[in-house]
Amino acid sequence: MEEILSVKNIRKSYGDITVLDDVSLNVSTGEVVVIVGPSGCGKSTFLRCLNGLEEIQEGQVILDGKVIDTEKDDLFSIRERIGMVFQSYELFPHLSVMQNLLLAPVKVKKRNKKEAEAQAQELLERVGLLSKKDSFPRQLSGGQKQRVAIIRALMMHPEILLLDEITAALDPEMVREVLEVVLDLAKEGRTMIIVTHELAFARAVADRMIFIDGGKIVEEGTPEEFFDDPKTDRLKRFLHSFLYED
């Protein structure tokens, strides 16, 4: 498969604290990569480095064969191509659902409003929220907000979607409705890099699993190898912490 994103030896630190240490990763078109790891291991920072929300000290992020230069302002076009969904949804509270969906397509891509609206309706329909198109974010549940946030990112036709712990702030009964949307996206062949704590979901959606600890990729592999036959002690311990055995 064609390689769309390539991360080469990136290093990121805040002062003396190294958050990411020589991390490399290649992602092919249509691939779903799931990153897990203990809190504070650098996995969210890793995602934020990919779309330039965090500056990297060393290394390269290569999108579609072109090295991203954070010094230049081609970051905007990068962010159009790499969509991101946050843990805390971050819908714009002063705008209705429809306005949230249309803002970036109309202002950034200069798309025709009617045509963008038609697409927004279609996406809302798909995630079962068409009736909420004129609601404001505060009138939605967490799960509904997160579904809107996902399709808001999709409105920009991103080539890659970054999902940063998108169910971590949700009540347990709302997790599923959001993850089903993501599974659906995976099925249609969307390229995604997902950070999550939902291991069962990770196993279901991932083409490749990655375990980050202490700012380094400690282990990676197919979901089967990863969950059933972990190689490193650290991953074994991590996976074990999710089990409740007598």
Partner: protein, 222 residues
Amino acid sequence: MGFEVLLKGSNLIRLLEGLAVALKISLISVAISIVLGTILGVIMSMDNKVIKGITRVYLEIVRIMPQLVLLFIVYFGATKVMGINISAEASSVIVFSFWGIAEMSDLVRGALKGIPAIQYESGIALGLSPVQTNIYVIIPQVIRRLIPLSINLITRMIKTTSLIMMIGIVEVLKVGQQIIEANRNSSPNAAFGVFLTIFVLYFIACWPISRFSKYLERKWET
């Protein structure tokens, strides 16, 4: 009841003129406070240590010092010490702006700080430029937070103009006193009627403003 004095001569017109003086001074001060206070608030939210120190001292002075004392310092003090002659009206505008800028800047700073940084990132992550993110995402939210608070400040400033008669400005309260004094023998109850009228005048001046604020709050709540 003492209302009859209002109908004598041009008393009611004089009261209204007095109100106009009070409103003029407060509205000029409000306009200055909103513009300069907003600019200062934006500067304050940049977290520069030196600016933080200076503005904290400024805010504390404004909060601790009664407005009347400030009025006396500027009007009587400045004239004597610095030998400059500031008119009573100019002194009032200076003092009210000094107060208003401080309060407004603190409101703006609070509103800006209240918007989580990740809202900004969320706009950026969608491909909006920093300028677009500010225009479409951040500023509308800041304004919505700011309006009820700043309207509260505006009505407080209008009310507090009743102090300016202490430095000799003939505003509505002073006119009221003059009317009461002049009619002490013919209408001994004039105090009640006149002050009640002044109460109503202040209410008419401030009420629409606070209704407008309520309206906006409700409109934006949905």
